[in-house]
Amino acid sequence: MKQEIFLGNGAIALGLMEAGCQVMTSYPGTPSSEILPEVIRLVESENLNTYVEWSTNEKVALDNAFAAAISGKRAACCMKQVGLNVAADSLMSAVYMGTVGGLVIISCDDPGPHSSQTEQDTRFMARLAKIPVLDPATPEEARKMAGLAMELSEEFRIPFIIRPAIRVCHARQDLAWDKLMNNPKKASFEKDPGRWAATPRFRFILHGELNKKLEAIGERFSDLSDINYHNLEEGKRYPLGIIAGGVPFAAIQDILADEKRDHIPLLKLGAPYPLPKRLTDEFMEACDKVLVLEETDTLIEYLLGDNQKIFGRISGHVPSEGELLPQVIFDCLNKILVELKLEPFTGKGNTGVTELVQDLGLPIRKPTLCPGCPHRASFYTIRKARPKAIFTSDIGCYTLGLNLGAVDTVLDMGAAITMASGFYHAYKQDGVDQPVVATIGDSTFYHSGTAGLLNAVYNDARFILVILDNLITAMTGMQPTPGIGIRADGSKGKAIPLERVIKGCGIDFIKEVDPYDTKAMGALMKEATQHVASPDGGIAVIIARHPCAIAYRGEAVPERIPVEITDDCTECNLCLDRFECPALYHDETLGRTSVDQALCAQCGVCLQICPEGAIVRSAEA
């Protein structure tokens, strides 16, 4: 037995490997990104033969895992909650067909949101698709649920979803674990076109089958005493009870313990759908009022459906957006205790500290591109070259081009391109040639850029597309891309250069530039503008290629250029507002801009931008 501290995502990986998961696919996205690397770590340290891949997107990942599962193997697929939207098409269909080996889909939610475009609740996606869903409260429980989901999936021949929220994914907990074994199961796909290629007539039958499975699973969920349970005393009535699942369950447990109020009964729903009706009926029956604590939406409230009895989001007692932090839960419950004339909490009165901190006027810390980030140089040049353009952008570090005024829209993966063509046609219809510049990262382009680009070319849209190729998936923690041809486990795959893909999409203008050279990139922007405007031109694609300053520290800055600022600085603040390098700051005492040498990456790009020539190369190395 080893004792080790695992990240929640590591605990999930451990649970999957303990369950003999043989195939694991994923596309990275916060907060799910560490699950697959943790699987690889275990595969290597324990000498397992699990097949692991970074797939090009979430739908691709799910389809790959599904095929393995219906050939009898145990498979898993993980992604962030909005990634499940991309995989929704497969999801809806896969659950009708069912599975043979276990298939576990892990979709990580982001209440807050901390690092996502929505706070959507994966449990609702599960309900929509009619897939059973488990909602862990802690890393330890997530690990346990991974094994349970795999077993139940195989038993009932239906995919399972586990929905860990960010506070499970990025929690750390000490876990005891033992040697891991390979699963000897061999692939053997049994042809059955009525199921695996079902036409609508058969789909109707499959739907009936699915509904029967769900009924049986709901029954079983009432018996899963580890994850669905309550602490009611036989025959007793309660003025108030609490139903909670996932992360809020852990918070309410601590609060009730801290406040010594464990006589308030608690129903834990670690498996909320299909609803374990026997359990919830018992609980609702015994309590006059029930507070429902769940993230992020109202699944349990909807499934219970008793609006008279329930305190929750629908009644306005629980906030409808944002995380249910322990303090938020504490305040909600305390208010309800007062409302019901029950004894309120003893812990802390209002000390006024929140207001005190608010009044300090603390600086809001916007995330920014790193010092030396090649995207900063790209955005600076793009904006300078086409100041009047609409700037469509995409999901990744480069979303932060917002700060440089070079990002106007961020919708979803791949929308830089689809929205660029949309804007072009909307203006074109009025006879206006609105310049549009789209920016998208290399990994995002591989994920969902091509369909949009094919469409734009086919329908003769005109815009400049700048692919910000930093040779990595940076935002989510430095995963390799198909462009560099390194696979998830570090082995060599076939590299598929961007140029080849873009050419295949029908683009004639494809040019590469190093964005650190702002002059060269500026010149290329001019050339691209001409191509876009010319009658026999088209979409112009610029590949701004330079390695990420964090992933490729040494290579990213091949020549270290120490910089300093002279008294020629007129405080025009161009470098602070339009370039926004975190290493440049306004120095009160000097009355001018200055360089924070601790942060400076010595990329030397700022030398090219100061209109007064006040940023200079300094002598000291």
Partner: protein, 184 residues
Amino acid sequence: MENVSMIFCGLGGQGILFMTKIFARAALDKGLPTLGAETHGMAQRGGSVVSHLKLGPAASSLVREQTANFLLALEENEAYRNLPFLAPGATLYVNAETDVFPRKEVSPYMEKQGITYHAFPAQKTAMALKNPMSTNLALMGFFAAYENEPFTHDELRETIISVSPERFRENNLKVFDAGFEFQQ
């Protein structure tokens, strides 16, 4: 030992995750149950970053307001921002010049709550040793100079030795020791 709750805060890129990891590992080595929460993703690019750590039995990885025993802040403003986490009688360690911390608006509150604070120019100390990225280690050393609970100086130092990658080990210890020896 009673349960101990800690908050680590600062700006993305300052090494908050590493600091949390050291404390969590030290707890593991002592056989204490550990549960913590971290910030990953977008905020790591220079935004406000907070880590929570609970030592001893707990269900939730998040520390509730006014229940933390320690706050270690790698940046002054982030220390203020996270003040609501501190329990009455808690202790705060901050990377800041001694003569500027705390701002006069917050002193009465800290006094009333019995919050002790220790300010120390951790970044300067790390810079002087040509390790600008090791502000976190300087602050940990400084912490170790005052506290024997939940970890002694030796326990923390041992953990840094075992957790640091070989090529950083010597430098990490140098900065940790400088923090420990500061003004002693």
